[in-house]
Assembly symmetry: C2
Homo-oligomer: 293 residues x 2
Amino acid sequence: MIAWRCSSVTLALLAVQLLQVSEAKTMAEVLAAAKPPDWRAIDPANTLYMELEGGRVIIELAPQFAPKHAENIRSLVRQQYFDAQRINRSQDNFVVQWGDPAFARAGVRKPPVPAEFTRSARDLPFTVLPDPDTYAPQTGFSAGFAAARDGAQGSAWPVHCYGVVGVGRDEAPDSGDDTELYVVTGHAPRQLDRNITVVGRVVQGMELLSVVPRGPSPMGVYEKPEQHTIIKSVRVAADLPAAQRTSLEALRTDTPLFAELIEARRNRTDEWYKVRAGRIEVCNVPLPVRVSP
Amino acid sequence: MIAWRCSSVTLALLAVQLLQVSEAKTMAEVLAAAKPPDWRAIDPANTLYMELEGGRVIIELAPQFAPKHAENIRSLVRQQYFDAQRINRSQDNFVVQWGDPAFARAGVRKPPVPAEFTRSARDLPFTVLPDPDTYAPQTGFSAGFAAARDGAQGSAWPVHCYGVVGVGRDEAPDSGDDTELYVVTGHAPRQLDRNITVVGRVVQGMELLSVVPRGPSPMGVYEKPEQHTIIKSVRVAADLPAAQRTSLEALRTDTPLFAELIEARRNRTDEWYKVRAGRIEVCNVPLPVRVSP
């Protein structure tokens, strides 16, 4: 029997019905069976293109968790704040970080932005993962992001999985003004959860950021400018003509099909696996993205 | 009160005594207080040097978990099997893999080696981590490796954390003959636990392997030989003259000081953290290594 629970009773019932008529599937089989409504277009207004020498990195913003920071980043991008900025930090098994207040252009408006570490769980769609988590009372998915919550009426927050983008800050909670952003390039640093604003995740081109040469220990901050990777530009997808966009779709995380995908990964049915885990940790659940067909 | 438990009652009592007289410390403060007996020399007979263009990668073998594979790898190394071999796979957020049976030299002895996915937990020293884990009934540390077990009298196995080295295999459990090895370069792929032989971990030079350019999706296997990274040689440290060795020490994982280190990471006391996690997942516990003083 399926151990997956769903925030919507209707969806849970649908999932159970689907599974009762189907054999256990592999993830590839689940994805092959996906119908157009199982995918959602990623909103160009919430999409950033970071152009590097090696290609385009695409970030989906998370306004459901950090609306003020998403808006502020769009404002900075539209002032071309990030153009010709640099990746100035790469710490092994932790983060790659870019942007630097020291490079800030005169005249760029950087209003203070309040911390958005958590939000209310009330009214936040949340698909619950049934397996235990070391750090949070409950984990799952919300609008395409791995997330955690502390009771259905309490607080919710995005989880720091591989590829998640956050807002660097100093000691004061409100000191993150989006002029320095980072992406997780190693094992999920879950101690950061609820301590920093998560503002998005990389949905394409992560392999361009994950191989940036590491800077010196312990923090990975480069000592010489020639070690920096140059960011040619950052743009909001919606601001570009259609021909210059990369039209992406993400698999919905609130469907019976996604429940099947999770079950396929909790218990891998291919012959290679001799012991099925029977469980899955939130950051090990794939969040598939494809170019729109 | 400390929630840390220890496999040795004596050590647990010592840890509690230590903590009662000390304020909560940062990890840096814990390490600064380490005495010589808190460190152990890494045995040169269990140490491999993989020489790349960019420098030396050092792997500590795990004979406590995979004695036959450790012995077989030493045999292959001494036949220079890995010299001029290649890194032929780099899959983002998963593994970098090297060696290839197709490159096997004529005359290299490759006896079959039995799978060593798990071992008995009986008589295995094990320092228990008190926090819940998604995948295993119990996690902790054994002889310097992150590990899991299913009851003190049941089975134990190494955990697939970042930097862990394992033995590639085909579908048959015994098909891993050490001619292909991999290292974890992303979020811990815990579904591999108990499905494959873990034979060691990278203790220095991980930043040379983690940035190897990713191969094409989905598996990251390069399509062209010119994409390969060449391995100049692999040697057993004990086979080299002392002047060519890198003498390393690892922090012991069965001491009161290590219990303090874990506590320092469960509850970070520096001012930057506004919410202390209060827990830690086994792959987020640092396993410090230093050059011998």
